[in-house]
């Protein structure tokens, strides 16, 4: 009882604050999630405005006579003439490890019914990206567990790799697979007690998506045990355009906390096309001048300032990193549209998914010719480079030759061999969703492919051959896989062991 009285007295003492100056304004006009406010003469750009009734707004337009505020929350409860006040604070979200395993909204408020979010600190949503001095080159890999990506379009920690393609081509799946693989790697390292291993924490930012899709993604992550290493930031289609516009920036702030504290984070922005649409809506109702496709003039800056926040910082700044995997949805494969070209030019490469390949059964439907990783090869494991160095070229050549072969014309033996090898490589790269492949297995399988062990396997049986080989390696030759993981390069001794193992497997394969 004494404690209770003391607590009440403390609260009363705390409330006895000196009279402070407040900056207020009056709502002059309201609608479409935007309010125009008269007054607020001291308001800053991006300052949080307390609109009363527990509703917050952000000052986005500072005009001579009024302030344009975007409203985060239910604006129907507000009305003309209501008094509002400036808070003197920029929009902040809770950050820290306490958010892992949680589903939050743009303001960092919980959406999963698991109680309050224990944020270790609060970070501003808008923050300047790390400068040139602070940055370090990308040199550590992000293992996605997807063979085609890890082999041909490698991603490094601190890189920005765009995932682009039409609707239903598996863009989100690549992101989810990557998250699941990180959880697998993190768990394995924890179990082994590896001190050198740097866990990669994931942030999945859902912008303008259907609630049902987000629920399905969360269920998948939970099913694969990935949630303890993941933060889901959801701003579904039913959220206001203002919330959707701010969601990726809030996600970036959460990732930056990991980077600032010497850890690595991976952010998936799903997707930036809907983000640009939300920003266009906000800009149009704020009566900002519109440009191409009615997007405002600063839509390029919107995405460039967001993606610039992905970086790897130097050792003396903590050696942390933020990797960004933005997703862009194209219309009928048109990569030359406004937003896709913008984001392609900002990012360090793109993974292009093709509808045709998807329906031909090549999944993930990665178009090798149009996909590229500009900095990731520096982060690729040496062993992977050794076995996959020529693969991208071989596959691109195969696609060209296969087009000729379609006409049924006679081809020389060398061309036929290239086509046959290409067909088998395509089969090897087919991979079901949510089943990432460990990098050691990828290296071993690809070594066998490169050394012709797959050439006498029928094309339709390549996947069966791959599954059996994987089984054989993981159950009977685990020490080879462990050596690949440890040495990270294929030396002569390892090569000989791989050869022996591959020959043994060849004898048992029927």
């Amino acid at each position: 009882m004494d404690n209770l009285l003391l607590e009440i007295e403390e609260q009363i003492a705390g409330a006895k604050a000196a009279v402070a100056k407040e900056n207020v304004g009056v709502i002059r006009e309201i609608g479409d999630g935007v309010a125009r406010i008269e007054g607020l003469t001291d308001a800053m750009l991006n300052e949080m405005i307390d609109l009363g009734k527990g509703i917050t707004g952000i000052a986005l337009n500072l005009d001579e006579t009024e302030v344009g505020v975007i409203i985060l929350g239910d604006y129907t409860r507000l009305q003309e003439g209501d008094e509002v006040r400036a808070t003197g604070k920029l929009l902040q979200v809770p950050v820290g490890k306490g958010l892992l395993g949680r589903v939050v909204n743009t303001l960092g408020e919980p959406l999963d019914g698991k109680g309050p979010v224990p944020g270790e600190a609060a970070y501003p949503v808008e923050k300047t990206a790390p400068g040139i001095i602070k940055r370090e080159k990308v040199s550590q890999p992000v293992q996605t567990g997807i063979m085609a990506i890890d082999a041909m379009i490698p991603i490094g920690r601190g890189q920005r790799e765009l995932i682009i393609g039409d609707r239903s081509t598996g863009k989100t799946t690549i992101g989810i697979d990557t998250i699941i693989n990180q959880a697998r790697l993190n768990k394995a390292a924890e179990a082994k007690g590896e001190k050198d291993y740097r866990p990669l924490y994931c942030i999945y930012v859902a912008i303008g998506q259907k609630q049902s899709s987000i629920a399905r993604i969360i269920a998948t992550l939970e099913q694969h045990g990935a949630m303890p290493y993941t933060i889901v930031l959801a701003s579904p289609a039913s959220d206001s355009a203002a919330s959707q516009y701010l969601a990726p920036f809030a996600g970036a702030a959460m990732g930056e906390w990991f980077m600032d504290n010497g850890m690595d984070a991976l952010i998936i922005y799903d997707d930036l096309s809907k983000h640009a649409v939300a920003y266009r809506q906000v800009s149009l109702v704020l009566k900002r001048p519109s440009g191409r496709e009615a997007y405002p003039g600063d839509v390029f800056y919107l995405h460039s300032r967001l993606l610039e926040r992905a970086a790897r910082v130097a050792e003396k700044y903590g050696n942390g990193s933020v990797t960004a995997l933005p997703i862009i949805e194209t219309q009928a494969g048109d990569v030359s549209a406004y937003i896709p070209t913008n984001v392609i030019s900002i990012t360090d490469g793109q993974i292009y998914l093709e509808t045709d390949l998807f329906y031909q059964g090549v999944r993930p439907a990665i178009s090798v010719g149009l996909s590229v990783s500009r900095v990731g090869s520096a982060a690729q494991l040496k062993a992977m480079k050794q076995v996959a160095g020529q693969l991208k070229g071989d596959l691109a050549q195969f696609r060209e030759l296969a087009a000729f072969a379609q006409f049924g014309s006679e081809v020389d033996a060398k061309t036929q061999a290239a086509i046959d090898r290409g067909k088998r490589i395509v089969e090897v790269f087919k991979q079901p969703q949510y089943s990432p492949v460990p990098v050691e297995v990828q290296v071993a399988v690809m070594w066998c492919v490169q050394n012709g062990y797959v050439d006498d396997v029928k094309v339709e049986r390549v996947r069966e051959w791959q599954a059996k080989l994987t089984d054989f390696l993981t159950t009977r030759k685990a020490e080879i896989l462990a050596r690949i993981g440890k040495e990270k390069a294929i030396g002569d001794a390892l090569k000989a062991e791989l050869k022996t193992a591959a020959d043994q497997f060849k004898e048992t394969w029927k």
Partner: protein, 130 residues
Amino acid sequence: MKTTKRTRRAARRLFRACFAGGRLDEGRVQLAVRRVAAARLRGSLPLLSHLRRLVKLERARHEAFVETATPLAPELRSSVASNLTRAYGPGVSLAFAENAALIGGMRVKVGSDVYDGSVQKALHALQERF
């Protein structure tokens, strides 16, 4: 009545021309309004409407609205007036009003600045802390 960008710009120019010695001159404003109205030009109505808004906002910037729960003693009124003149310069017009909802204390509003030392505000702050 649509206020175009051009009209707003013209109103702003007119408004600036009504200043004398850093303060809005009432005589100039009246003259400007009379001249524009007499000219009967196309778009003069939205121009005058925007000018009215600018004048209203400028006046509000120099108007102090003092609210108390009970009537304020004359010496306290003059003390409030001198303090406000010191903070905002000469020419601040004062308006005193009673508002029982404040319970006690005083609330002063000058333009968009508010100094709230009322009991109502303290109770509200306490409620938020709990």
